[in-house]
């Protein structure tokens, strides 16, 4: 419903942020002692000498035109932004896709089991562990994981190296990512499952003499699908960004690493392009979610 206005809104936001608030960066690119001509050349190349709004050739119109054509210009180091993104996409996905599936599968199954034993010692201790895990900062998970598992005990490589296979390189980051993601997710899904557990159909299913596994993983899981889908499908577009902090710590040359570098050098072109692409992906996956609702629950389509 809001698809096209949202794309427009994101472009407006990046324009306001990076062009109006960010201001003229030509002097910054050229360096401190650049001649006036060099600055003028740079302004010409990036179109910074054009009027902001009221013209057919204004920066505002050009921003929209180039974004809709997926032409993001060149980054600070002269490499086209789109090439940079293509290069970083592989390593980022290699890192985030296993984390995503790991977290979803483990936390959904764990939460089903925890909801089944609700009120018991296991349930209480699981909730306590979840809250504690949510309170540990993400950075500490990474640092302690890297220090103990890779540096101290030598189970994994400490940093990314091109000589090793991708699987060896991302094994530890994936493990840390899953561990850090479990707390919040198990807690969320537990609430969802608890709501379902109190329904009549669960009692009926048990009364029929179905096995616990069948009731939990077939009946309850299917009925709890709507909130799961909402959370899971909308998390997919964020996979593309990679995990900023994990990539930074382990030196994985993905999109997150690229973002951290872009922040360091104040490379607005890269940040703006990434913002736009991730928003487009989000909008697309929002539509997919709606389709998935129909598949999971035919009542929604009526």
């Amino acid at each position: 419903m809001y698809t096209i206005p949202i794309v427009f809104g994101v472009l407006l936001l990046t324009f306001v942020l990076f062009t109006i608030v960010g201001g003229d960066i030509s002097i910054e690119i050229a360096g401190k002692d650049a001649a006036a001509e060099t600055i003028e050349e740079i302004r010409e190349e990036y179109g910074l000498n054009k009027p902001l709004f009221f013209s057919w050739d204004s920066q505002f119109i050009n921003h929209f035109k180039s974004a809709l054509a997926f032409d993001f210009g060149r980054a600070r180091d002269r490499e086209p932004v789109i090439d940079k993104i293509k290069r970083g996409l592989g390593p980022s996905l290699a890192l985030t896709v296993p984390i995503f599936f790991g977290v979803v599968i483990i936390s959904v199954s764990l939460s089903l089991i925890i909801a089944f034993v609700r009120g018991s010692v296991w349930d209480v201790s699981a909730v306590i562990i979840c809250v504690a895990a949510m309170s540990i900062p993400y950075l500490s998970f990474i640092l302690f994981g890297q220090y103990f598992l890779a540096y101290k005990w030598g189970l994994f490589p400490v940093f990314f190296s091109p000589d090793l296979t991708m699987a060896q390189n991302v094994a530890l980051p994936v493990l840390i990512g899953i561990a850090a993601g479990l707390g919040g997710n198990v807690r969320f899904y537990r609430t969802v499952m608890l709501d379902e557990m109190q329904s009549d159909y669960v009692r009926t299913a048990f009364a029929k003499g179905l096995t616990t596994r069948r009731v939990l993983f077939k009946h309850v899981l299917k009925n709890a699908m709507i909130p799961i889908i909402t959370r899971v499908v909308l998390a997919i577009p964020f996979l593309f960004l990679g995990s900023l902090l994990l990539e930074r710590f382990f030196g994985i040359p993905g999109l997150g690493y690229m973002m951290v570098e872009a922040i360091g050098s104040r490379d607005y072109f890269v940040i703006s392009a990434m913002t736009y692409i991730s928003a487009i992906l989000f909008v697309v996956f929002n539509l997919i979610t709606d389709v998935c609702y129909c598949l999971a629950d035919p009542r929604v389509c009526l």
């Binding site: 809001y2 206005p5 949202i6 809104g9 994101v10 407006l12 936001l13 990046t14 942020l17 990076f18 608030v21 960010g22 201001g23 809250v131 504690a132 949510m134 309170s135 540990i136 900062p137 993400y138 950075l139 500490s140 640092l143 302690f144 890297q146 220090y147 540096y151 577009p237 964020f238 960004l241 900023l244 902090l245 710590f249 973002m259 951290v260 922040i263 360091g264 104040r266 607005y268 940040i271 703006s272 990434m274 913002t275 991730s278 928003a279 989000f282 909008v283 929002n286």
Partner: protein, 313 residues
């Protein structure tokens, strides 16, 4: 059984005044020992931050304010004189950790205020008027929520950093809490809007209308006080996210540059850990962990005792 006594107690219950939502909530909260302990911890953190502000204002010479002082050699391990050891410059890690509380609490508090100031009025106005105004507001927050949260905060923080706004230079933490506040009003706006839509058709709003109250009065004096407990609940839990966001931003070098913060301490620890210097890392992690845990538990307890809908279940 004394029949007269029973009758009297019955009368008493009949004459008893109804408790307000807040009084009832506080009464329920008091019964939870763990939540009260967590509340005490949170108050302690706030007092610490406040006393550092006071010390800077009145020029008291208390420990955390003198974090820049050299108290020993470089990288001294924890001992009886320096409880948490020293960092590379020989500064006390304990003092730096305590000082970091001030930065984190300030950022989280200001970010909360900014996002409440934006989100609550927008949500209330959108929910009350519906129509075109509502469409614009929904469009605004849908746009913001379609961008990954961390990317959005980073984009705002990078751009706002070292800019001047109305003649006021945005340095260090000002840029950080503005970036967090300007990006995280979406959740509260959505919540308030939904709640106002539900409340709009209730009798008390109708009564206010029939008295001839202005629309502004209905929204801000009648509707908002009835949904405001949701804001408190939401922010007791969101505060944790703000503290963690501040840590990540200072870690990435977008935060306070020349005063100690927990994120900067963790950033230092990145190199130190390989030399076996663990105390700075442990101190910062523990400080964040205790605050977040207290906030998480207290926020949950607050929601359980203030939200009447949850109580019925």
């Amino acid at each position: 059984m004394d029949p007269l006594k029973t009758k009297n107690s019955k009368l008493k219950t009949q004459n008893r005044r109804g408790r307000s939502l807040w009084k009832d909530g506080v009464r329920r909260l008091r019964k939870r020992k763990l939540a009260m302990v967590c509340f005490a911890v949170i108050v302690l953190y706030f007092l610490l931050a406040g006393s550092i502000y006071l010390a800077e204002l009145c020029d008291w010479r208390i420990g955390p304010r003198l974090w820049a002082e050299e108290v020993g050699q470089s990288y001294e391990p924890p001992s009886s004189t320096n409880i948490l050891g020293t960092d590379i410059f020989g500064q006390s890690v304990l003092r730096k950790t305590l000082y970091g509380a001030k930065i984190s609490i300030t950022v989280a508090l200001c970010a909360s205020l900014v996002s409440i100031a934006i989100g609550v009025p927008l949500g209330a106005v959108g929910g009350y008027f519906r129509g075109f105004v509502d469409e614009i507001i929904v469009w605004g927050y849908s746009t913001l929520s379609s961008i990954p949260y961390i990317l959005l905060i980073l984009a705002f923080a990078v751009v706002l950093r070292d800019k001047s706004l109305f003649g006021y230079r945005l340095t260090g933490i000002t840029a950080v809490y503005l970036a967090i506040g300007l990006t995280s009003w979406v959740g509260i706006c959505r919540l308030i809007r939904g709640e106002v839509i539900k409340h709009k058709d209730r009798e008390y709003v109708l009564a206010a209308m029939s008295y001839g109250c202005s629309r502004r009065r209905i929204i801000f004096r009648h509707l908002l006080p009835n949904v405001f407990h949701l804001v408190i609940i939401d922010f007791s839990l969101r505060f944790v996210a703000f503290v963690h966001a501040e840590v990540v931003l200072s870690f990435l070098g977008l935060g306070e540059a020349d005063r100690p913060s927990w994120g900067a301490m963790i950033n230092d620890a990145r190199i130190e850990l390989s030399r076996g210097v663990w105390w700075q890392m442990v101190a910062a992690t523990a400080a964040i962990f205790v605050l977040s845990l207290a906030l998480n538990i207290f926020g949950d307890a607050l929601r359980d005792s203030l939200d009447p809908k949850l109580r019925i279940q």
